[in-house]
Amino acid sequence: MSTAAPPTDRTRPDQIDLTASSPRWGEKAIVGWLFLCAAFSVLVTVGIVFALVEPTLEFFSRVSLGEFFSFDEWAPTFQPPAFGVGRIVAGTLNVTFYALLIALPAGLGAAIYLSEYASPRAKRILKPVLEVLEGVPTVAYGFFALTFITPIIRELWPTFLPGALGDPPGIFSAASAGLVMGIMIIPTVASVSQDAMSAVPASLREAAYGIGSTRMQVATKVVVPAALSGIVASFILGISRAVGETMIVLIAAGATPNLTLLPNESVLTMTAFIAQASTGDIATGTITYYTVFAVGSLLFVSTLVLNMISIALVRRYREAYE
């Protein structure tokens, strides 16, 4: 204890070697495999694009752009064929319009209720119910539209309406498909909107309550404007789902390529055409085969644009609040 000898026997190396004792090739191979799996999802998109591009180009080598992008007539399987895609785009827009008439307000209302009004207990019950609603197979919705909603609207159609609008719909109608599709989309709109509303900081609400606002004012003047980009994103996602939905329109909207926005008529949509034309085995190389891909390309591009806008808007509110 008296004389402190300097610890000369313990030498410390200047540099500690922290690199791995072996190159760990196995570990690197695993990471490589995991990366390939993640990159595979990009390959799926690339696959979709490639699957669509070549037959679409083949289609346009046989049918002119002007003939395709017109509203004249849609009869690709007839002789002589006609390819006025405007007809089935109009059909898609028709059903989408009536679906959104229901889905957007109801989805937004449900989201406001869940985010601002519902007790934690009510939320625990209602959220799974909406999830179940989202998981119902669309073929079941189609059956419901055809065998339950259609007879009701045929019975209760307001025949006092002027002109063609007063005619009761037939067995297939845009109204029946649109109505059921609208309800199918409510959970999508509601859950994305509610996520956006939940991301609004509580301090904003508290400040508004603090200066004497009512609950309704907080919801409509503070929460909705603050979550606007997320709400718009949910609306656009709803449009994308309506445009891409197949089974409900295939079963309940009929197959007549009518150029109309009236709800009481039968319409053919882009998705219903694809499903109808390619059910079973269609012969490769026929013009019908290529038409399916051309319509598929149009459908893919339009939903891609909608999805990208929606994703960008969701990122915007995430950046603002997180």
Binding site: E27, I30, V31, L34, F35, C37, A38, A39, F40, S41, V42, V44, G47, I48, A51, L52, P55, A106, G107, L108, Y113, V129, V132, L133, G135, V136, P137, V139, A140, G142, F143, T147, I183, A190, P201, L204, A207, A208, I211, T214, R215, M216, Q217, K221, V222, P225, G244, E245, T246, M247, T271, I274, A275, G280, D281, F300, T303, L306, I311, A320
Partner: protein, 308 residues
């Protein structure tokens, strides 16, 4: 981005204050009540429809909810005893195919994105954006992909069960990646740090610590993905789930097949009442399977998920 937040706050404060000053929110208690009633109505519409869909299928299909439905093959001659055995077996095979394909693929992708990916790299951002977009691509577009690349084209499998499985796997891949990522993310970082501090390599840490802890989440995600795949109809119409098959599939890579949803679709579009009833009975079976799967997922989530 705080400026945007301030903007929103300022605007909201101004609106609310103005309402206070001009007295437009005085004596307006009924307005709030009406507003709340409208909101409740919105959510009620959705729930009432759900109940109506289930009840309508149930009461329509009840007369045909018998053993013949499971025992017999589809038949257009004996409508009153026609079954859907081939459709049930087709769906079972399809789902086995989806599960063995999508689980390894999706879980591996999720591990990469959660544990290894550097989010500043452009290709990682591309992959994430791509997965978000794929989740919203219409299902029928996957059918076109299946028709062009899996049934024909590079893979050239023909109209067989596995072509359907593969198409549905691509469709639910985003679902399984997203749910698995959430499960992996919920394992706290301290577990990883403790494992690494004891000298485990990164992969050993994932394999021995992170993955075992996230198994319940991964299983829940798998069941949810399968329950989405089981009800998909449109893509199967394109990859050859023909609507009238009176024998069970021979194997994954040979023979025509049908599935529950495509069989329901075929029956639903026939005008005869007997087929409508059969379609409804099929919907009951399908919804029954879905309810069992979803309950199982919820049960696993509640029973096995660890809270840290």
């Amino acid at each position: 981005m705080t400026s945007r937040r301030n903007q929103i706050a300022t605007q909201a404060a101004r609106d609310v204050t103005l309402a206070q000053l001009d007295g437009s929110n005085r004596g307006g208690q009924w307005k709030g009540a009406v507003f709340k009633a409208v909101l409740v109505l919105c959510i009620t519409v959705a729930i009432v429809t759900l109940v109506a869909v289930v009840l309508q299928a149930f009461f329509t299909g009840l007369p045909r909810l018998d053993m013949n439905l499971i025992r017999n093959m589809p038949s257009s001659i004996d409508r009153s005893t026609s079954g859907m055995q081939s459709a049930i077996w087709g769906t079972v095979r399809l789902m086995v195919g989806v599960a063995v394909t999508v689980v390894p693929l999706g879980v591996s992708a999720a591990i990469y994105l959660e544990e290894f990916a550097d989010r500043t790299k452009w290709y990682v951002r591309l992959i994430e954006l791509n997965i978000q977009n794929l989740a919203a691509v219409p299902s029928i577009v996957f059918g076109i992909l299946g028709l062009a690349f899996i049934v024909r084209g590079p893979l050239d499998l023909g109209f067989v069960v596995y072509a359907g499985s593969l198409t549905l796997s691509l469709l639910v891949l985003p679902t399984i990646i997203l749910t698995t990522r959430e499960a992996i993310r919920s394992v706290p970082g301290s577990i990883r740090e403790a494992s690494m501090a004891l000298g485990a390599t990164k992969w050993k840490t994932i394999w021995k610590q992170v993955l075992p802890s996230s198994v319940p989440g991964i299983m829940t995600g798998t069941i949810l993905a399968l329950s989405r795949a089981i009800g998909e109809t449109a893509p199967l119409l394109l990859v050859g789930a023909t609507v009238f098959v009176t024998y069970n599939p021979d194997g994954f890579f040979e023979g025509a097949f049908t599935s529950l949803p495509t069989q329901i679709f075929a029956w639903a579009t026939r005008p005869q009442e007997e087929f409508r009833i059969l379609a409804a009975a099929g919907i009951i079976v399908l919804m029954g399977v879905l309810i069992v799967m979803n309950s199982l997922a919820i049960w696993i989530r509640n029973k096995f998920t660890r809270t840290w």
